[in-house]
């Protein structure tokens, strides 16, 4: 046992001195806590975006494809003036919108059933069933759909057994739409579910007491309260479709290129990184506008 003089202050180690400093200066404490995540955010995330922005203004030497750091708008001019790139951008946005709307329509009844009707046990099973596909690789699931759609695949085999004519949707935009809807559906169900779960059942009862029939209650009470959830889910389905290229590569056909494919081809095939960067900025701008709109609908409270 060490004996210490009773009046002597405890010996100050470096640790306790730092701790004292942090106690006296709260802003220092907050800064130290926030520095690692903030550094990560700035250097990895924002810096990458800044680099993307800068690269978009460069060119490549057409013959050797080496990057030439001469500032110009030529990549953007090509993107805006060439009808093919406009068509690809429009196709991508349309696909993202179609997938988002379809997923919202599919997800709402499921989420409503889970949040308001299902018994706790059923609810758990449904949760598991919805999240289970996320355990399997994305590529494996896309390939599975490819096998379903092929001319001699499961879909046409089943139609044949039912006496229906075969449909040839392999390698079409329809196939792409179905696969996107399937792949991103869980990302829509979960936010809608969490929004609906927060709607007090008493509100629905109150609406009924005041004479609101089922449809009216849905339209006037439940839907407005679920809207932030739908908006939150749509951020996922919309942005994920906007940036995808693998589904288009595997199940898309002639005339099925999305922005992601052009970016991929520009980098991986023509080695035109500046052009890829310029086109990649397009989804960034669209998402910025979209997120602004979604925030006004209260999407971020439902996340």
């Amino acid at each position: 046992m060490t004996v210490e003089a009773p009046n002597r202050p405890p010996s100050k180690g470096a640790g306790s001195r730092i701790s004292a400093l942090l106690w006296r200066r709260p802003w220092l404490r907050a800064g130290a806590l926030l520095a690692p995540p903030l550094g990560w955010f700035i250097f990895v995330y924002l810096a990458a975006l800044a680099v993307l922005l800068i690269t978009a203004f460069w060119q490549i030497n057409p013959f050797t494809t080496a990057i030439e750091r001469i500032w110009s708008f030529s990549n953007f001019k090509t993107l805006l003036s060439n009808p093919a790139y406009r068509a690809i951008a429009l196709r991508t946005v349309r696909m993202a919108a179609a997938v988002t709307i379809t997923d919202a329509l599919l997800a709402f009844p499921v989420a409503y059933f889970m949040a308001k009707i299902a018994a706790p046990r059923t609810q758990k099973i449904l949760f598991g069933a919805i999240l289970l596909p996320l355990w399997a690789s994305y590529i494996a699931r896309v390939y599975a759909w490819q096998l379903i759609f092929t001319h001699d695949g499961v879909l046409n085999w089943s139609l044949g057994k039912l006496g229906l004519p075969a449909i040839n949707i392999a390698y079409t935009n329809w196939a792409m739409w179905i696969v996107f809807c399937y792949i991103w559906l869980p990302f829509m169900i979960i936010p809608i579910y969490s929004a609906l779960e927060r709607v007090p059942t008493s509100l629905i009862e109150a609406s009924a007491d005041l004479g609101g029939r089922g449809w009216r209650t849905l339209r006037r009470v439940i839907l407005p309260l679920a809207l932030p959830g739908i908006a939150a889910g749509s951020i996922f389905t919309f942005s994920l479709t906007l940036g995808d290229y693998i589904t288009a590569l595997l199940v898309g056909g002639a005339g099925g290129k999305l922005i992601g494919n052009v970016v991929y081809d520009s980098v991986g095939v023509s080695n035109n990184v500046p052009f890829a960067a310029a086109f990649a900025l397009f989804p960034v701008v669209i998402m910025a506008v979209y997120l602004f709109g979604a925030r006004r609908l209260g999407a971020f409270e439902a996340l």
Partner: protein, 400 residues
């Protein structure tokens, strides 16, 4: 296998994203002399190749076409030399060029580039001179493949020729009672939704070759040397073809799967796809139509910053030997450049030497071999469409 390749593509995108950051943060992804233009000497022409093969470095990194690094000849090579082979498969010549330049080069040792990529790599300074004296079998190559214009400039060799072959018309024999004899099968509205062709700008040459026979008034002499009018004619033919195309394939495995599952009945292919489909019991056949065919001639080019040069030379030596030449020819369905491979081919598969014309050097003169389209196409006017125009038209006017 399939999914692994696509995983590779996914990883490739991650790598590309990193390259994007790297290229902006100083290390330009390009070559030392980006201003080099064709006509002058390639930037690496003055580099002195090594005069002997030293001890192997234990590793060899290849960029290759699917099917070019099969265990049949990779395993014995690894056992003999101790060089562990890592092959990265590329889906197109453009991808090969990009991979060679990724991160400033220095990752890969050799690339099995086709003629349409060779000049870009040579003039881009991505590959360097090779000492063919260190490859004994080079003496046995057919003369036209010892120093062909696509890999040898002013007597300096930038690699060793490997194999060559035609681009064939592949069709399902169930759908075609009479074998098609013309490339018109790929442009016939009757075949709507049944056609598949490679997603590759060099396909424009196939359209040009077809037009050179069917529309002589255009005056197309060489499908890789097209002036504005000839080029536009080829593009508009391809635009007419697009509604017929089910899918532009990026990897040979995609075309194989389409023929297997009945999603395509006619397409442009390599003999490799025919062999693979026949092996899995699909009723297909291929033909070189009456208009002739384009073709590829591949070369193992040595990277300027090859980290394992001794293993690279060992590999060039190994793949040039008659046995490996014959093995690869039969496995892929292509023609060896080594004149001594013919008898071994017949040992491995009866009649294969004649089937692939491995004993008939004159046959190769009927093939329009891939080469990089250049603006300066030798007519003195520099008015030909350059490869970058081909790439752009392919994306924006044909497949986009």
């Amino acid at each position: 296998m399939k999914s692994r390749r696509h995983l590779n593509r996914k990883l490739g995108l991650v790598a590309a994203a990193l390259a994007l950051i790297a290229s902006a943060c100083g290390g330009s992804g390009g070559s030392p002399s980006s201003k080099a233009a064709p006509g002058g000497q390639p930037p690496t022409a003055g580099m002195k190749p090594q005069s002997s093969i030293g001890k192997g470095e234990g590793t060899l990194n290849l960029i290759a076409w699917e099917g070019y690094a099969q265990p049949d000849w990779v395993k014995p090579f690894e056992q003999q030399t101790g060089c562990q082979v890592h092959a990265k498969y590329a889906g197109s010549s453009d991808e090969m060029v990009t991979l060679m330049r990724g991160g400033g080069g220095g990752q890969y040792d050799l690339v099995s580039a086709s003629g349409d990529a060779d000049l870009r790599l040579i003039y881009g300074g991505d590959v360097k001179p090779v000492n063919v004296k260190l490859i004994p079998d080079w003496q046995n190559f057919f003369p036209q493949f010892q120093a062909p214009a696509f890999n040898t400039i002013s007597g300096v060799h930038y690699g060793v020729s490997l194999q060559w072959g035609p681009n064939v018309l592949l069709y399902n024999t169930k759908d075609y009672s009479h074998a098609p004899t013309s490339w018109s099968a790929l442009y016939d509205p009757k075949n709507k939704g049944q056609v598949t062709v490679p997603d590759n700008p060099i396909q424009i040459a196939d359209a040009a070759l077809y037009l050179s026979k069917t529309k002589p008034s255009l005056g197309i002499k060489d499908p890789y040397e097209l002036d504005q009018a000839q080029f536009q004619a080829a593009i508009s033919l391809l635009k007419q073809q697009r509604p017929l195309v089910r899918k532009y394939w990026a990897l040979a495995s995609q075309e194989i799967s389409m023929f297997k599952n009945g999603d395509a009945s006619v397409g442009a292919a390599w003999p490799y796809q025919t062999n693979a489909l026949k092996a899995s019991g699909v009723s297909v056949a291929d033909t070189i139509p009456q208009e002739g065919a384009t073709g590829w001639a591949d070369t193992w080019l040595l990277a300027t910053k090859a980290p394992h040069p001794n293993c690279a030379y060992q590999w060039m030596k190994w793949v040039s030997t008659p046995k490996v030449q014959a093995q690869q020819a039969i496995s892929f369905g292509e023609t060896p450049v080594n004149s001594k491979a013919c008898p071994i081919m017949d040992q491995l598969a009866k009649g294969s030497c004649a089937q692939y014309h491995a004993n008939d050097p004159s046959y190769s003169s009927s093939i329009a071999f891939w080469k990089t389209p250049l603006a300066n196409c030798g007519n003195g006017k520099t008015d030909c469409m350059a490869y970058s125009d081909w790439q752009q038209a392919w994306t924006t006017e044909v497949t986009g």
